[in-house]
Symmetry: C2
Subunit: 194 residues, 2 copies
């Protein structure tokens, strides 16, 4: 008798603001290909590939949200691109997804293409022009734990057995550099495959 054992490759949810890039599908294709090189199944959010044309905006938003929540539940871990997005912190949707996977008990890995600490970025932000209101003011505390992100996010990564990978890319490559992502892929293999 021949027993065929097919090993299921771990599924990795690819959280990050790449869905807002000029070519979001290509950005996802590149990450999924890198996952495959590491023996992992990359699962990219479907924002840009769902059939949304002609639907009302609230319906579109609900479809994207439900589809991505379903994808997350189907995954074994997440790798989050926590590079700052329109402010001091990571993209809010990515932060939501890190919390979501953390609550499900799935390992969360992450990288950022900004190496300054959260404290340093907040100080830079405080010194510049901003929105009419953005929640910042002289007497509002700035987290100072030598971390790269809000502690709820970075500690979730540490508690997953990893660390938030900080990397400085070449200028203008901040949104697309994948060196930190590659480090996370190796981490994912170590944690999920051994």
């Amino acid at each position: 008798m021949v027993v065929l054992v097919v090993m299921k490759r771990p599924r990795i949810y690819l959280a990050g603001p790449e869905v807002f890039l000029p070519d979001p599908i290509e950005a996802g294709r590149i990450k999924v290909a890198l996952c495959a090189e590491h023996g992992l199944d990359g699962v990219y959010p479907l924002d840009a590939s769902l059939p949304l044309a002609g639907l009302a905006k609230p319906t579109q938003a609900a479809l994207i949200s439900r589809s991505n929540e379903d994808l997350m539940r189907s995954c074994d871990a997440a790798i989050a691109n926590l590079t700052p997005f329109r402010g001091v912190s990571a993209d809010a949707g990515t932060a939501f997804e890190v919390g979501f996977m953390r609550a499900l008990g799935r390992p969360v890995l992450g990288y950022t293409n900004a190496t300054a600490t959260y404290l340093e970025r907040s100080q830079t932000y405080r010194n510049g022009a901003r929105l009419p209101f953005d929640g910042d003011a002289k007497d509002i505390a700035i987290e100072d734990f030598d971390l790269a992100e809000n502690l709820m996010i970075e500690i979730a990564i540490q508690a997953s057995g990893s660390r938030l990978v900080r990397h400085t890319p070449a200028p203008a490559q901040e949104m697309t550099d994948l060196e930190g992502f590659r480090v996370c892929l190796a981490e994912a293999r170590r944690l999920l495959v051994g």
Copy 2:
């Protein structure tokens, strides 16, 4: 025989950047008192009341994170203050917590003291001075679903049977106005107590 039935009041996790206010404990006390007026047990994150003195920063951060995750698991729902914080979006830790409670299947309610849409705030942000790198650029898409926040957050609130409450407070009251919070408390009662 006398049977004493003690109804457990629903526990509401109070997510938001109030933990960074000059007097975070007082800000929490006020919210917890409002919860009690609505027959709800407000549960405020312990960032400012944990015994952290003398501990190394990484240990402090890990204690806060674990304590808040444990608190969230103990709660029946969350009310999130999604007012923009150091950028276009809500505080990253708050976004994490919305995702966390959503993954646990607990209702998530939310309010923001900024009434502009996410699109409008992003456009304002794009026209001002910012961090050396913040993820924004002319060719980076801006979500346009007529929502007040990233769709993963706002749809999570809608899927909880509620809506993200938008309210414009008096100038300089953006971080402390509780009108939206009161609406959320009524929503929480409707969803949890009936």
